[in-house]
Symmetry: C2
Subunit: 386 residues, 2 copies
């Protein structure tokens, strides 16, 4: 036994022998949801021996966390979840060091008047970039979320993972986890000198609680490992780049579900998710007037549809790539197969919890990770209540 | 020139030399939509030299026509399309010989009361099969379409193709067509003695009008051939079998979008289409409690969801197969990517028409094929009007 208050151990590669046989809780996946849940578990249940397992490094670089838009906005949050959203905002801004937090309004541009909307031309003096981005005659109204902000979800995941370890969580990297009845099988991965990723050794570890936070891979992992069925879905989302100038004061724009997120001096485009992708789908690039490009066809169509109201989409400022690998993309979990569903957790078998971020993790993810940690710890209070 | 009134020629295999260089109109695809359009074109524009091209035999055996549910119903037809639906019904019943026409009511079973609905138990004396199929407490109400009928769309396509040829259309089978500016390139296919399908010869044919009636392959064909972009989609639909007895008097049932179509002494299940499948999707089977089955996952979920209200779905009466090949399935065109859209035609370039059947071709397909033929022929009148 280690002394209370000591940092956890980290196994980064197979040269470090791992011989643990059991934990109170194991969290699978060190993306934003898993790393945050591990961090909150150390705070709320310090007596629980905790292992965080990640297939790659910290934070996970292949899932939705690193490619998440990093846009916090209260637009589209239902009234009963607003306290959680506000808590997630405050935590993200203040508690995890430098996460590139940047308060900036989000403008939802509309084709017709709506409650609380202002005329788009009235925003031009404040946001001069709008003149080059938007046709104000086609989008004459705008709803403004003054409390919106952008940040880096990957930085949140990294900070949560590091703090969890500092607070005593063990961390096992480069390890592929499979669910078994009562625990997990851990395949520690290594790379051969022919660059093949292979399993170096497998360990069975028992755990009273297993939290599956593997993003879009979580529900299939639970299903294949334990023969369960879940109603969750997934979608492959690409985030193409639009090279039109942006700065610190540039707002986030949203047009009919398409988000333009100022980033690296231009914009990252976050397309809408209309529905899940079918089981077995492998993303491929589309064609633009016959020429192969790296953006999947469904996303291309969404961009082409909006060219009229967002003229830069019809120019070379849009990076379309030549193959799928040119356009960053990641699989996203869709809780209940529903692109509008907030993040959630679900106990799919006794002691086995699925933790899903999905499209709205930027706004609500931390609160849902906290909620699961508190539930596992037997803590009734939630910091956003009362 | 052949004499007016003579039958057209048929090229079934590459041993029959094909040396035509031009037609007034070429119809690509001898499924239900293409064959019907060719037939109506011969009636409405007998002076137009016409070629019907099919990749396989007559009728097409790989597309949606042969697997179509063959259910005519006025439920869900919008008021402005009802005359076309009635005309399609009358034509199908009377004009194409034996198409296995069977008038039988369609019962849409509901969880709650709706306009015109009757209590499900009141239907039990008339439809005793219901007692074994449905939980009347879970589905206490039903809307009845007394005018519904079942038939074989493949038989309609065959009759239309044969009559088109008898009325003078030429027919080229086993030929893969590609669009070219001003016409088509025709790759005549043959099978080698190692069972490989290869192109025996290619012919360029000029045509004033080209009608692309290749089902789900139509829009991609037009796009690849001519660099166009269309907003149409497609979906892969499987029709699993439910081996629960049915007879001539058994009604068609519909439960939350799932249709149970009495056929061959049991039922063919026609699952709902929720949305299009993404570009590049290759269908694969799913898993039922961990075991691979031939039904795609999305359809499995639809069936599992309805097991409570349709108890036979939870028994061995449902054929789930062991791989995709065990469960009949076909790609369906979705006009405008919308599963609720009626059949339609669209002139995507001068003289180039897309003709799409889609999920509602059973009820409206013939009228839309007629409408396109009349448009090409310059005929103003429609038989279902005034």
């Amino acid at each position: 036994m280690r002394p209370m208050g000591a940092a956890g151990r980290v196994w980064a590669h197979v040269g470090q022998p791992f011989s643990e046989r059991g934990y109170g809780a194991v969290v699978l996946g060190a993306g934003r949801m898993g790393a945050a849940c591990a961090f909150f578990l150390r705070r709320l249940a310090p007596e629980l021996r905790l292992l965080l397992v990640e297939r790659g490094g910290l934070p996970n670089e292949e899932g939705a966390t690193v490619l998440a838009p990093g846009v916090w906005t209260a637009l589209n949050v239902s009234p009963e979840r607003r306290a959680e959203a506000a808590w997630t905002r405050a935590q993200t801004e203040r508690e995890f060091g430098d996460v590139s937090w940047q308060a900036r309004p989000l403008l939802e541009l509309l084709t017709r008047e709506a409650a609380g909307a202002v005329p788009t031309p009235s925003l031009l003096p404040r946001f001069p970039e709008l003149a080059h981005l938007v046709d104000p005659e086609a989008l004459p109204f705008a709803q403004v979320d003054e409390g919106a902000a952008t940040y880096r979800p990957g930085a949140v995941a990294l900070a949560c993972g590091q703090r969890a370890v500092r607070a005593g969580a063990d961390l096992l990297l480069n390890t592929h986890a499979h669910l078994t009845p009562g625990g997990v099988r851990l395949d520690r991965l290594t790379v051969t000198n022919t660059h093949e990723v292979v399993t170096h050794e497998s360990r069975e570890v028992l755990a009273g609680v297993v939290i599956v936070a593997m993003g879009a891979d979580g529900p299939p992992g639970a299903e294949h490992g334990l023969g369960l069925h879940t109603g969750h879905g997934r979608a492959y989302r690409q985030a193409p780049r639009l090279n039109t100038p942006s700065g610190e004061a540039t707002p986030v724009l949203r047009v009919d579900g398409l988000t333009l997120r100022p980033q690296h001096g231009g914009f990252t485009l976050i397309p809408p998710i209309h529905h899940r992708d079918p089981h077995g789908y492998t993303p491929i690039g589309g064609r633009l007037t016959g020429v192969p490009v790296g953006i999947r066809r469904e996303t291309l169509e969404d961009l082409v549809e909006r060219m009229g109201v967002l003229p830069p989409l019809g120019t070379e400022a849009l990076e379309v790539g030549r193959s799928l690998a040119d356009i960053p993309g990641a699989w996203l979990a869709l809780p209940d197969g529903d692109p509008t569903a907030p993040p959630r957790h679900e106990e799919v078998a006794p002691g086995l919890h699925l933790l899903l971020g999905g499209p709205h993790a930027d706004t609500l993810g931390l609160a849902v990770a906290y909620d699961l940690a508190a539930k596992v710890a037997g803590v009734e209070e939630r910091p956003w209540e009362g």
